[in-house]
Symmetry: C2
Subunit: 203 residues, 2 copies
């Protein structure tokens, strides 16, 4: 069977490279990792950025609770191990999406610095953009759209970030968004402006 | 805080839909699920299809052992449970990639019908294209590029598909490729022709 040998040779020739994918998309791929307290606005900002990018003809995709906790990570709970595994898997999937040439937006509390740094480590320099959606606990607790802070304060939810579990704010985030004082649209535009200024819109 | 309420309203407005993503890509997204024995040619055909699609300006991506077993699924072994979880995770990620508008090619033995059917079930009709790379055990064992069949025959590898673990051939595959008698390029072209004939190249 010489066929398989020839096949192995052509394998590498046929492989579409990351650079090829960026060229087709017309821009670079990267992970935009949104982190912040529950109700700080992560998902809303991420979805607004996604929308703005899409309107500009950029290829983007949001990984958030809606499509991850119900699918890929539905077999994970909220133990320390499961929280770490949750972030690990999201990081690996985000990496694949970025290498396919997408702006990949993730919107998870991701409270622990070590877990976020592990994701940074599996990506090339410039491919991991940490975006701290900085809203005070007071602001988030006043919003509390799902009543989660209320439940946590009442002791009905254990291990809730910001109440009885720590949130470790980033100290080296590429972007810090002032979610106490600025609206969603303004924050989203800051993210798009960052991408443009840093050259991500060129392949 | 009225801000959060306004935010919740805009969330849905801002959400980019699957149809929006298909429109930007210029074609539909779908999962092309290659299945077959070890050394049947799955990965090589998938990578060749990926290359052909890329050259036509279509957005595609390959999920295979190279980027999955070393990343997302590096914490999985080869027990029955781990094999099922391996395929489950790949299916969930392939679904996300397809919904982002990509032709998502997966190249894993995926020997059990039940595991493949579970992936089919999480996708909409037409979004799961099962491609059986049909090469006889004899053909695969003659090729044996990594010497795995030899090791399995010697008892050094346990639970090897086709030797001491079953391969359940699909009975409802969308495409069956005759990998005993046709070359890689011909098989890859059959896949591309299928996509074109079935209307996948229109958004």
């Amino acid at each position: 069977m010489t066929e398989q040998k020839a096949t192995n040779v052509t394998w590498h020739d046929h492989r579409v490279t990351k650079a090829d994918r960026f060229a087709l998309k017309g821009h670079k791929g990267a992970v935009l990792w949104f982190t912040g307290l529950s109700a700080c606005g992560k998902s809303t900002v991420a979805n607004t950025v996604d929308h703005l990018l899409h309107e500009k003809g950029k290829h983007s995709y949001v990984l958030d609770g809606d499509n991850i906790r119900m699918g890929l990570n539905k077999n994970l709970g909220f133990s320390a191990d499961d929280r770490a595994e949750n972030i690990r898997r999201i990081g690996e999937v985000a990496k694949l999406f970025a290498h396919a040439g997408n702006f990949t937006l993730t919107a998870f509390i991701s409270p622990y610095k070590a877990d976020r740094d592990k994701v940074r480590e599996i990506l090339a320099p410039g491919e991991f953009i940490e975006i701290y959606v900085n809203a005070s606990l007071e602001t988030c607790e006043k919003r509390d759209p799902k009543g989660l802070y209320k439940k946590a304060r009442a002791g009905e939810l254990k291990g809730f970030t910001g109440i009885d579990d720590p949130y470790e704010a980033p100290d080296n985030a590429e972007l810090v968004l002032d979610a106490d004082n600025k609206g969603i649209d303004e924050l989203a535009q800051e993210v798009v402006d960052y991408l443009e200024a840093k050259g991500y819109f060129a392949a």
